[in-house]
Assembly symmetry: D2
Homo-oligomer: 336 residues x 4
């Protein structure tokens, strides 16, 4: 056979696999979004069109890849490994503040191995998506997101057609063994977004920084110097005393980021059930039938996807939405 | 610090790394392209618009990511792991033949660690892209490709606007330690494309299969049965005797696939220099200056990118284009 | 510096890391133990000296590496990947039955990252052993085991000095995210040992097989043929009716394997506490002080290590020994 | 089947694989050898008995695992990750100098995938050892080494029986794509051993340091201070002027380390053949028959293993011993 001589090269395809029964987070990041956002004149510190475009693309990803149970996006500055080194070298941190972009985390339920793909072809055996090449999983999410981002662009940037170089994204994957770890990850992201005391990279800082520039007439270096060493209270004070801005009244989307999930009926929060992996499907334990799985999938579609700007750190978010942990569909909301 | 309580989750970010000094192949694949190509009525066995769109996107990828030295795309049928199982289960192999899509391999030179990114920020230390998370590298290539595929769609499918679900791609990465291994990989792909005696998955088979259906009026099952057990000569005979098709005259793009590379001046092929890793830059050996690197990058842009349909199995292709192996820029072609 | 020219080779040291917060199992296996056991005339189906030597080495490993919370060893036949292929090729399965050896699984608690090594040098920051190269962790366990196996040999094989080629072992590592997964792993091992209905590889089969040969005078091929297709009840019947052997009276060590753990005072089993990861220390949650950690280590030493032959599948084993799950030291047994 | 309920746990066995066609280095390291060498009163700076024991064990490993083409051991100080942090914390570097131990690198030829194991069971298909779990490969080497180290102990430490805690080793594996990379790795090791100008960790430093203490009556801290900032020439001068020691006359084993390889007839060094991967067997290229492979293996046994103390940095070592690169057996040395 003519082919066999070369076919050995397949041996080089190494198959890193994901550990089953872990919560998977695929986090995507805009590439070179500082340049990109400057080129398209994104408003500072937050460009509402850009945020809405990101969220629309994220919702489309969750519609297409129904194993994703949760998406969470935060505004963030662009910091690549290189740029950090660069800043260190050149002592230039301020230019970073000029840009704001979005970073989105998508969560796959730890039991998704049980359900994935089986239904499509009536295979009786377990077909674990988790055993897949992580590169395939990450690139699928990133590619789907990119496709919608480019496709939806003209809906949000109506008079500004996209032209090369086009926006692109990269992704990475992280595995969390327990729901505590996953919630801590989500909390870390939200803390980072809102009011991180330990870093400059948060919405309060950016709001104040840009108010000093846009409303106060300062240049970037002076604004940066002015904020150096200030605490949250100081920034609140600057905003209010100089610009009559009450930070509490700023839109939640900037302060909390955006949470995206399947829109089932909320559970009464007074129920004080604990949020643990115990409540979730165990691999090797309960296995649902193909028919039930298909029913669940349809129910997800019926429930639809909702985008909100909420606290996801406190228990309340998770207790009211038990389907996130259990991966069992909730109740469909009745239209009055 | 409010943040530190959650920050431990960063410990879970595992950093698989790529082995330095290896040739990297990122291979991207259209997802669910059977459904996609049916939905948009791709011509069978080859849809020229779809091929040209793929090639345009691939050229754009090489323009943006200048470390890629070579791209190679072949028409292929869609075969996911699942679908193979499905076929086995249902004894239905024929439906596979209905679709043809493209799979593209992008090659990074094994020395790319030396050059990558350094130039951008004047870092003096080596910054090895190869030590990066492979997920980031793959997702970057896939995302860039997807962006251009969606963006260029309307140039090729003029009257058929794209609508959700949008096309998407996945990717994987393979490392080859020697140039022999890399050439064998490329040869394997091209053999697979053109005349694989060992499989049904090649252009000769598809051309004959679809001629039997479209010109001969057979249904798919009958056509498949008729071709069962035939050799290449038999298929050539069927094409010629029944449909007056001389397979040799079929367009090269279908038979050879598409090769994409930087368009430097070819070297006289009578030079019988051997093609080995010896001719290439060694990590830890020759290191070029930042200035020289920047010069090389500009030269790549000046040279431009060419798309051809050639034999890449024989030595000739590689001997005439020594820059592929050496990663040293060739001579710019003089415009007469 | 003379050195710098070569030092780049360090870049090739890839650092696969273990996922934090997972239960780690290091499983070691005797290499070529069929040949080895034949050479030293191990008794069949179970050689008590060989078992006791294995168990002594395993206890020594747990004494030296105090992060190991549990060891479990089972008699097993040697089946390498190669040999399975070989058997398939040559239709010779019977020769496998001639040998019995031990395979030992060592369990590290999922929170071991918190404690490990910190104490030794008063480092305040978390130093997660789990982030270590898995090769280092596995090879350390295997090396320690091998050292004691060779060292203790003459205690058990009194008149048979060891001579080259010496016994050696290999190891692998498996990560389990939840206590359910870990318990299922342990159960799988014990089921395999005792009464696996689905395979030939268990003590009941071996006891019957060797009784047919040693007491019944059959040759291996005939004995194998006779047992082909028999159920557990059939083998019990053969043992009892032909050889007056009541399998229930066989020593527990052969039927249950050997469990090794720190010998704290058992908890009253009527306590129906559930066995979940909830009861265990969470990374990122409770962190114990260095002083407490050192106290715990000393308590482990004081408790000592006990070897037993028990059912580890049922809840009782785990409920009575909560320190296995919690990694908090139990009560020291009072000497009456 | 009773077993099937638990068997899913096998899904968690992740199979990291080694990249084919790369040079593999398994490097083993004595664990806690500072404490170990103090306990057994190893002579400083070099204990000849300890070195000879290490070398004997290394030779035994190469006899058992015939795919290893080269071993190289150097005296080294013990530096774990922890200890480096510790030193930084406590500014105590000097205690490190008190100990000297051995670290051994074993090299597998990059083509070993072709030959390994096939012969043992007449399997016709390629059975690539390289596709094995790296943990298995590393732990096998480390276990074999440990077994011989313990077994041979009494041959070298005649009046000092070994007692728990026993010596143990850990290992790691590194892949090098090209022979240049491998030679640079070996050179790095030897430079580090002999005369590293950039570090304190080398034989010249240790010889001088211990002469100052043992012959000059200094304490460790004073000796360290005295050597601070000295160059090689300074240390040579101290040794000669104060203690009449000509460092050039020190035994080669301390200065060069120990090289171990199959003892074929040397090739005339005037042959100026280049040392490249070109000269070696390519996977996917030449494949040798099972009979030839078996012949080669026997020839290795006949050639025997030789231990020397040579320069392995210069071309001469490699040019004279072409079998190291080609993996083709050399000429058996005729006994006169």
């Amino acid at each position: 056979m003519a082919n066999s001589k070369y076919e050995y090269v397949k041996l080089y395809e190494q198959s890193d696999t994901l550990l089953p029964n872990t919560w998977l987070v695929v986090r995507i990041d805009g590439r070179s979004f500082h340049r990109f956002s400057n080129r398209y004149n994104f408003a500072k510190p937050n460009d509402r069109r850009a945020l809405d475009l990101m969220n629309s693309a994220a919702k489309a990803v969750m519609n297409e890849i129904s194993d994703i149970i949760l998406g969470y996006g935060v505004s963030d500055e662009y910091r690549s490994v290189n740029e950090k080194k660069f800043q260190k070298l050149h002592k230039k941190t301020f230019f970073q503040k000029f840009l704001v972009l979005r970073r989105i985390s998508f969560v796959f339920h730890k039991s998704c191995a049980l359900f994935d793909r089986r239904s499509r072809y009536t295979l009786q055996s377990i077909f674990p998506c988790l055993l897949f090449n992580p590169n395939k999983l990450v690139s699928t999410v990133v590619s789907t997101f990119t496709a919608y981002y480019v496709h939806f662009w003209s809906n949000f940037f109506i008079d500004t057609p996209l032209s090369p170089p086009l926006p692109s994204f990269d992704g990475r994957i992280i595995q969390y063994p327990s729901i505590e770890n996953l919630r801590d990850y989500m909390s870390w992201r939200q803390v980072d977004c809102e009011h991180s005391a330990s870093s400059h990279i948060n919405n309060l800082y950016n709001t104040t920084f840009w108010s000093l520039i846009q409303l106060g007439g300062l240049d970037a270096a002076t604004a940066e110097k002015e904020l150096s060493g200030t605490l949250s209270a100081d920034k609140n004070e600057i905003l209010f005393s100089r610009f009559k801005i009450n930070y509490n009244n700023e839109p939640e989307i900037y302060k909390k980021g955006s949470v995206i999930y399947h829109n089932y009926e909320l559970i009464d929060a007074t129920t004080t059930c604990r949020v643990t992996d115990e409540n979730s499907v165990q691999i090797g334990g309960l296995q649902i039938s193909k028919a039930e799985e298909e029913k669940n999938r349809k129910r997800k579609v019926k429930a639809g996807i909702i985008l909100q700007h909420l606290d996801i750190i406190k228990d309340e978010f998770w207790v009211k939405r038990p389907w996130l942990i259990s991966n069992k569909p909730g109740k469909i909301i009745k239209v009055q």
